[in-house]
Structures are given as structure tokens and as C-alpha cells.
């Protein structure tokens, strides 16, 4: 199995993927939350907890990477629903398993995902992504 370590290709809250790989249903990826992740200093000073929006950030990056492998550019167009069941702290592994469309092509496409904290289910997401041909600077 080939593992990627993609870096964000755009402005990003943080580098939300340590390892990424394809699965039969789409893709899976994870990030191991380090104590020196800058956001923890401010969220919160009394107790470091990953902002829920950082889970969304990691989700977005993983989906974008899948489409980038097909020469396409993807951005989240809408969030139909996203639930956060467990908080993430330094030392936790944030893992996401995403079900992606069978074909990567331009247009608007639904994506669903399950979020795990280590081995526990920590959230769910149903979003729509807008996909277009990659542009070059």
C-alpha cells in the first residue's frame, strides 16, 4: 500500500495529514496531534483541545489530495452536516475514512466521512465538493 504525506497546496489552518492512502471506498488518512501544534497554545491556555474546525480542515485536505491525484482541484462547496463526538488532545491520532465518488471528474459531488480518535468513532461528516480542472499559475 502506498502512503502519501501531502502538504496543503493552499492557505491552511495546519498541515492536517501525516499519512494518506487509497481505500476501496475512497481514501483514509490520519494526523498525529503533537503537543507543540501552535493552535494548542490558544485553544485553550487552560487545556489544549483541537478546535473542531481543524477536524474539518483535515477532512478538506484529504479530499483535495484525492482529486489532485487525478489532476483536479476540489474545494468544499457545502457542509450538509458534521458532528463532533469526542474532543481531540495532544497525543491523539485523528483519523478519517472517506467514501468518495467512484469517478473523479469536474462538477459537484457528495462525500461522506467518519472521524476516529485513535480507534473510537469521533465524528461524522456529509459534505459536497466542487471540482474543476486544475489551474496553473
Amino acid at each position: 500500500m502506498t502512503h502519501d504525506t501531502p502538504q496543503p497546496r493552499r492557505a491552511a489552518a495546519y498541515a492536517g495529514i501525516d499519512q494518506w492512502h487509497r481505500t476501496p471506498a475512497g481514501a483514509a488518512w490520519h494526523v498525529d496531534l503533537q503537543p507543540d501544534e501552535p493552535v494548542f497554545a490558544g485553544h485553550y491556555p487552560h487545556e489544549p483541545i483541537l478546535p473542531g474546525v481543524y477536524v474539518f480542515e483535515s477532512l478538506s485536505q484529504g479530499i483535495e489530495h484525492w482529486y489532485a491525484q487525478h489532476g483536479l482541484e476540489a474545494r468544499v462547496q457545502s457542509v450538509r452536516s458534521m458532528r463532533f463526538l469526542l474532543p481531540f488532545r495532544p497525543g491523539h491520532r485523528l483519523r478519517i475514512e472517506a467514501t468518495l465518488p467512484p469517478r473523479a471528474c469536474p462538477g459537484s459531488h457528495p462525500v461522506s466521512a467518519t472521524v476516529f480518535r485513535d480507534s473510537e468513532k469521533a465524528g461524522t461528516a456529509r459534505i459536497t465538493v466542487r471540482v474543476q480542472e486544475a489551474r496553473h499559475a
Binding site: 493552499r10 501552535p38 487545556e47 474546525v53 474545494r75 468544499v76 450538509r80 458534521m82 463532533f84
Partner: protein
């Protein structure tokens, strides 16, 4: 209205994730308008590749949502939600539409309303505007204010 230091007396977030510059309008119990200026000097732009196109400069949707929710802090507090000395946690979000990117030089205006306020939980909705244009619609975001002791014991109940 409220400047950044006054906001910090209510909201628990601190640098580098204190993402609200000013409250410019506040109707107690109803709605609030907070603003955040976006600049290319922010940490989120530090690793944009030199060869990337301008579309790479869109302010992260994740941080836009975080900033939006922080604008709700003073509104929720004045409406009776006790957030001082509490840990604020995302419970859920939905019906969110991203209509246009926000770019360096833009000033985001977060127009936030309380949809419901329950015991320790607030349901928010509203819009993000730039120069009068709606760039994001937020159908609903649910945030819980939990005691620090309760959060130390784990799950995020609604």
C-alpha cells in the same frame, strides 16, 4: 462596541486562534456583528507555495467558521450562556454554503444570530459578508459550554 481586549474578557480563545478583531454591532439577545480583517501575514499563509495560483490564497474555510463562532461569544454570554471559565466545544454544524473565497485584504463581517439557547448549549446561524456580499451562509452551528472538569472526563454531549 468591543475591541479585541474586551472580547478576550469574554471569549476563551487566545493567540494564534483568537480570530475576532472587533464587535461593531450588538443587539442583546438577538444578533451581533463582528469583524476580522484578513492579511497575508497570517500563519495560515506561511506555506502557500510560491508557484501556486491566486486561488491558493482563499482564507481557510475552517478558520472562517472559527472566527464566525467566536463572534457569537459576547452575544451568547449576554443572552445568558455562561462561557467564562468554561471550555467551548463544537457539537455540530450543518447547512453551510461557501459561496465565494475570502482573500487577503478582505474584512469579514460575521452576522450572527442565536437560533436557540439551551442549558449550556447554543445554536447559531447567520452569514459572513465581505464588502456587503454574502460569501458564506451558516445554517446552524451548535456549541457547548462545558465545565473544565466535565471536559476532562471526555465526550461532548449536546
Amino acid at each position: 462596541m468591543l475591541d479585541h481586549q474586551q472580547i478576550k474578557r469574554i471569549n476563551p480563545q487566545r493567540h494564534p486562534i483568537a480570530l475576532l478583531d472587533r464587535i461593531v454591532e450588538h443587539v442583546r439577545g438577538e444578533r451581533i456583528v463582528g469583524i476580522k480583517a484578513v492579511t497575508a501575514a497570517e500563519p495560515c499563509y506561511a506555506h502557500v507555495p510560491d508557484g501556486a495560483g491566486s486561488e491558493a490564497l482563499g482564507y481557510p474555510q475552517s478558520l472562517m467558521l472559527e472566527s464566525f463562532c467566536q463572534a457569537a461569544g459576547p452575544l451568547a454570554f449576554e443572552s445568558g450562556l455562561d462561557i467564562v471559565q468554561k471550555t467551548m466545544l463544537f457539537v455540530s454544524m450543518g447547512e453551510i454554503e461557501f459561496l465565494a473565497p475570502v482573500l487577503p485584504g478582505d474584512v469579514m463581517e460575521h452576522h450572527v444570530s442565536i437560533l436557540r439557547l439551551l442549558d449550556g448549549v447554543v445554536l447559531l446561524g447567520g452569514e459572513v459578508r465581505v464588502a456587503g456580499t454574502v460569501v458564506t451562509r451558516v445554517g446552524q452551528v451548535m456549541i457547548a459550554a462545558r465545565s473544565r472538569e466535565a471536559v476532562a472526563g471526555e465526550a461532548v454531549p449536546a
